[in-house]
Symmetry: C2
Subunit: 373 residues, 2 copies
């Protein structure tokens, strides 16, 4: 893949995002936003901070300039984010809470904390700062991040294309039978990395293991009669692909064919239902209706999808109880599944963007049932 | 590497660890210990839980049986840990806080929370449970985890050996000049994975980039005259190796040779100083003295080391201000460095175990200056 064609996020976009988040703080009566290393931090500043026991913390006041508290040895990593925030570094023998305290004057009022900040840091911040309330920053950041702009969607499409090309090559790369799950996954990961994603995560679950949706890939040897689920992806410019395909090794029986058709129908029905204004939970209901009507309702043991962007799982979640309306630019997975304990599982997943004309898939590899050797 | 020789942690060890942590809770007047997916959780139960927006939470009361709150779709992953704790699962459309609340009766008193639990979960727990105090579980877990038992040290040695063998092969695998940092690192990662670590992280920092200790590996092309730092490792049975070696591409000048000798001397002096009872900060002072005496004190911009085990960075930290005494079985890195901004950097790192007879290295690849093509 030609990396020269990967669009980059301009500095003005970060400035705009910081401006918008300060507006959101004012609207919600929040005085400070505190973010550790996270997609939220990357979204606002482009700083891909290192998650560790050393505190990195972006401190955004409701008005005025943000500060970025960083370990001295990681200060060189701040890069262009140093133009967006005042950098305050602390050395290993110093307390980062001293640096944090130096940024604020007086009480901090209502403080919103990033979802992924370590609890150890939150407890120390609660001891250090005289805040009147501690709240989750998740809802604030969600409102900024859920609807993707053109550059973000382009990056997600490039990432989806990497999965498409890799999957096509994988289907031609030889039989699965006799490989361990780990070996099969490694083949797919290598092919995907070759398409330009900067890292690649994945699950390979075979035979009865495919009945556990979040199975950890192991050393089971794939054999004829197995269904095999591959769920994988990687980031381009920070934005992730996330695709699942299920294949069968050797000719499947009637029940597997039926289950596969039901899952595919649910996947397509969910895609067809996408439109701005529809509540997120309606997509889950759409998929669940198809699967329940076919008699497998009890075997669809997870929500139909999750938002996709700088994180593989992010808002919006397509789950019963979430009445948030879909909006143009939202990107999410469409991944119904049926899991029959001790026997097999089927999941088919695409990344979908909500447009004014409905849902559009960001990956295009075949969803037809593939029989492999 | 023959995976058959990797020792496993028996169930009785987990039972003993849970018993010891409950004793520690009683001694410290703590009523509940709450741990999310983390090395702490893995240490107590062997459950390698998935870190995500779905809550996994081990709840250990001061006395009585622990409970494990898990997402329904991840319940199959609990495995043998299900014999150690009562498993309470919640479905995607349910609130995990309902499951948490069902485990406790009445006020929860003093609650210790695992270091790495997401802040979003802590804030929800603080809203859900009527606790009298929220404290860090770090100091409790540290006391259990710092001194490694025989099985843990054996796993760390096997992981260290993987780095040793991979490094030896890497030095024979051809010139660095002309490779990008990413390509050079990938070569080393592949060789290390071939030695049986189950994943592999790493840093390759070349030329002026080597002056940033936590540099993110990039696309700079390595060239003659560069110093190149490789800092990498991976887990065996969950326990990590962590080694750094610095090589020079082409003949180094006098200053580089001098800096390399100073760092090597500091590394050896630190190893020689290890003995039970010595304060952690004394190891940092030992290394710093050598480097300061040579005129490079300002260029040694981080602590000399960190604990190593189920995490690449864990307690004890070898840093000024930490007067914790070393004890037999503690394992930590010994990694002095000198970083000359805009020019080059040198770091030499070994994993060391504290024994009754002093420090013993867990990896053995050469620390002599290596000149590569």
């Amino acid at each position: 893949m030609a990396t020269a064609n990967i669009p980059t996020v301009p500095k003005t976009t970060y400035e705009d995002r910081l401006h918008r988040v300060q507006t959101a703080l004012a609207e919600r009566g929040v005085d400070w936003l505190l973010l550790g290393p996270s997609a939220d931090l990357f979204y606002l500043t482009g700083f891909d901070a290192h998650v560790s026991e050393r505190l990195n913390l972006l401190m955004v006041p409701r008005s005025g300039d943000p500060s970025l508290v960083v370990p001295l040895l990681e200060a060189p990593n701040v890069g262009a984010a140093g133009d967006l925030a005042r950098v305050v570094s602390w050395a290993d023998h110093e307390s980062p809470m001293g640096s944090v305290a130096s940024v604020v004057t007086g009480d901090t009022g209502r403080v919103a904390v990033g979802n992924h900040l370590y609890s150890a840091f939150l407890l120390r911040l609660q001891d250090t700062l005289g805040a009147s309330a501690w709240i989750e920053a998740g809802p604030i950041m969600r409102d900024l991040r859920m609807a993707k702009d053109a550059v973000e969607i382009e990056l997600l499409e490039i990432a989806g294309r990497a999965n498409d090309v890799a999957w096509e090559a994988f289907l031609q790369a030889g039989p699965l039978s006799g490989l361990t799950e780990r070996q099969a996954l490694q083949r797919l990961v290598d092919l995907t990395l070759a398409e330009g994603v900067s890292s690649c995560w994945g699950i390979c679950a075979s035979g009865p293991n495919a009945a556990a949706p979040h199975y950890s890939t192991g050393d089971r040897v794939i054999q004829p009669g197995d269904s095999v689920i591959f769920d994988w992806g990687g980031p381009v410019g920070g934005y992730y692909s996330d695709v699942t395909r299920t294949v069968h090794v050797g000719e499947p029986d009637e029940e597997f064919r039926k289950v596969y058709e039901v899952v595919l129908e649910a996947n397509q029905a969910t895609l067809d239902a996408v439109r701005p204004g529809l509540a997120c939970q309606e997509l889950d209901r759409t998929a669940r209706r198809v699967i329940t009507d076919a008699g497998y309702g009890e075997a669809f043991i997870h929500r139909v999808g999750h938002g996709l962007g700088l994180e593989v799982h992010e808002e919006p979640y397509l789950v019963e109880g979430n009445d948030l309306p879909l909006a143009e630019g939202m990107v999410f997975s469409d991944e119904p599944g049926i899991y029959l304990e001790g026997r097999f599982g089927v999941r088919i997943e695409d990344a979908v963007v909500c447009t004014g004309e409905g849902g559009r898939r960001l990956n295009h590899s075949t969803r037809d049932l593939v029989v492999m050797g």
